[in-house]
């Protein structure tokens, strides 16, 4: 069990780096809400953006935050600490209805996707472009993105 969200965030960052590469922004400001992580993958000219909202509990609040991130992301995930994912799972229809991803993560770095959403077009072209402009000059490479999309 994670003691704090900060602890969860640090471990998730390590997990992201190791499994998907270091193509991410942490607590990115100036968007619609502040996602814990914004992961990006460049494929030819296209950039896919996946946002993550980490929470120890309160899946509903997390879902509302994750929905906001769909303004600039192609996919948005709620990542809950394993212990509190059960309540969210019993409300999986909300995640399906709003096309929000749901995953659980524990302190052994075990990550499991409980609901994988469909890739979508961000609602705000302006916010998406703002992120793309930040990311486009990066030479970092992502890996295994197919596991998230």
């Amino acid at each position: 069990m994670f003691e704090t969200e900060q602890e969860m965030s640090l471990m998730f960052e390590k997990f992201l780096k190791m499994n998907f590469g270091n193509t991410y922004l942490k607590e990115c400001q100036g968007l619609f809400g502040v996602p814990d992580f914004v992961f990006y993958a460049k494929q030819k000219q296209e950039i896919s953006i996946i946002s993550f909202e980490l929470k120890l509990k309160n899946w509903k609040k997390a879902a509302k935050q994750a929905f906001r991130y769909k303004s600039f992301s192609n996919i948005s995930y709620v990542v809950l600490a394993s212990g509190s994912s059960k309540a969210a799972l019993s409300n999986i229809e909300l995640f399906q209805k709003y096309n929000i991803g749901l995953a659980k993560f524990d302190n052994d770095s075990f990550f499991e996707i409980l609901y994988k959403p469909e890739i979508g077009t961000p609602y705000s072209e302006e916010l998406n472009q703002k992120l793309v402009n930040t990311i486009s000059s990066s030479r970092k490479k992502s890996k295994n993105i197919e596991a998230l999309v």
Partner: protein, 388 residues
């Protein structure tokens, strides 16, 4: 019921709207407009409104307030509360003279602000402000109506003893015609969702109206619609959030403090809510009829063009709100019973519209309709009070 513009930063948006027939008058804000500039302003803009003297913090020289002749620091540098003992008469005279020179519709007696009111608060306010103001008005045979400004703290609503104390104090003054009430807002949410607070506010207004006082409500947001069922004489519209919710920070000189700019929002009269612009973008993607949830105004076509750059500091969303909200207030029934029925109908309608939106959009607590069931319950409870 009248609608005043609570002016502040960017008061030109309010003035332009008022010139175009929106609202009944302007409440002027000394921290935002130089005294000479206000004096030089077209008197027609002033004759229907009034000045909020803003002596809340007595000698805090925020913005342009020190350009006003009654600003305590102009009577004596480092003016403090004990100086009021010797200067309250002069201060009252200067404050009345300035208001008279500008020919405002009402004369306003200022009010002090304390984080926690001292036990002598009412006695002090009477001695330092109410008596010298009323005496000067009487001596000079001034015919204008006098309003007493009162900051209503949450405790004055929730605690019956304190509520009665403040109501007795207000209604005990023979020479005032009414009150300019400012409800302090310490809520973290953008809408007030506290049942007891809202019901007690309605009861508070009702007591004053039952005592034949004019009741003017400052710093109101959407809840002005709810307050309308207690039959106040006026409510306000304001542009930025700090003009639709009273907090003392606005009057403190906090130059170095960093404030995160809010997201742009658009008011919907049908939804009885301000909706974050980013949700409107989501609605646009997911709901073909999204525009129907927002009201017509001369500003709407521009705001809904793809080129419009939404930003909280743009005038159009605020001017749209002034226009739409003023119209919404003016459409209210003149009778209390009629207003109650209308408002209940509007709430039911808004809740059903939110249901439709939430089939597609997961709104957060500051853009959704979560305040509306509370409003509905408050109306029912107030209706019961009326039949007691």
């Amino acid at each position: 019921m009248k609608v005043y513009h609570q002016t502040g930063f960017r008061d030109k948006w309010n003035i332009e709207s008022f010139r175009n027939g929106v609202g009944n008058g302007l409440i002027f804000s000394p921290i935002n407009i130089d005294a000479d500039k206000l004096f030089a302003m077209d008197v027609k803009l002033k004759q229907s409104g009034f000045l909020d003297p803003q002596l809340y913090l007595l000698n805090e020289a925020k913005g342009t307030i020190d350009t006003y002749p009654y600003f305590p620091g102009n009577l004596k540098p480092d003016f403090t509360t004990p100086d009021l003992d010797n200067s309250h008469i002069q201060l009252a005279q200067l404050c009345v003279d300035y208001q008279m020179k500008n020919d405002f519709h009402y004369l306003i007696i200022p009010s002090r602000y304390y984080a926690d009111n001292p036990t002598t608060y009412f006695a002090q306010s009477t001695d330092y402000f109410v008596i010298p103001f009323c005496d000067y008005v009487k001596e000079n045979k001034i015919q204008k109506k006098v309003l007493l400004s009162v900051i209503v703290k949450t405790i004055m609503l929730s605690d019956e003893v304190k509520r009665n104390e403040v109501l007795n104090w207000i209604t005990g003054h023979q020479n005032i015609d009414g009150v300019y009430l400012i409800f302090e807002n310490n809520f973290a949410s953008k809408q007030i969702k506290d049942f007891d607070y809202l019901l007690n506010t309605l009861k508070f207004i009702k007591v004053l109206k039952d005592n034949q006082m004019e009741v003017h409500l400052g710093y109101t947001n959407t809840e002005a619609l709810l307050y309308s069922i207690a039959m106040p004489d006026s409510v306000t519209v304001g542009s930025y959030e700090n003009l639709r919710s009273f907090g003392i920070k606005r009057f403190q000189d906090l130059e170095k403090s960093q404030m995160r700019p809010p997201n742009a929002r658009l008011y919907s009269a049908q939804l009885l809510q301000w909706i974050d612009y980013e949700y409107i973008q989501a609605m646009k993607s997911l709901m073909p009829d999204y525009a129907n949830y927002f009201d017509e105004s001369e500003f709407r076509p521009l705001m809904f063009t793809p080129e419009f750059k939404w930003h909280f500091a743009k005038p159009e969303p605020y001017k749209h709100y002034f226009y739409v909200f003023d119209k919404q207030i003016k459409k209210l029934s003149p009778t209390q019973e009629g207003r109650i029925d209308e408002l209940k109908g509007s709430i039911k309608n808004a809740l059903s519209l939110f249901k439709k939106i939430e089939n597609n959009i997961l709104l957060d607590d500051d853009s959704d309709g979560s305040h509306l069931p509370t409003w509905f319950n408050v109306i029912n409870a107030f209706q019961k009070e009326l039949t007691k």
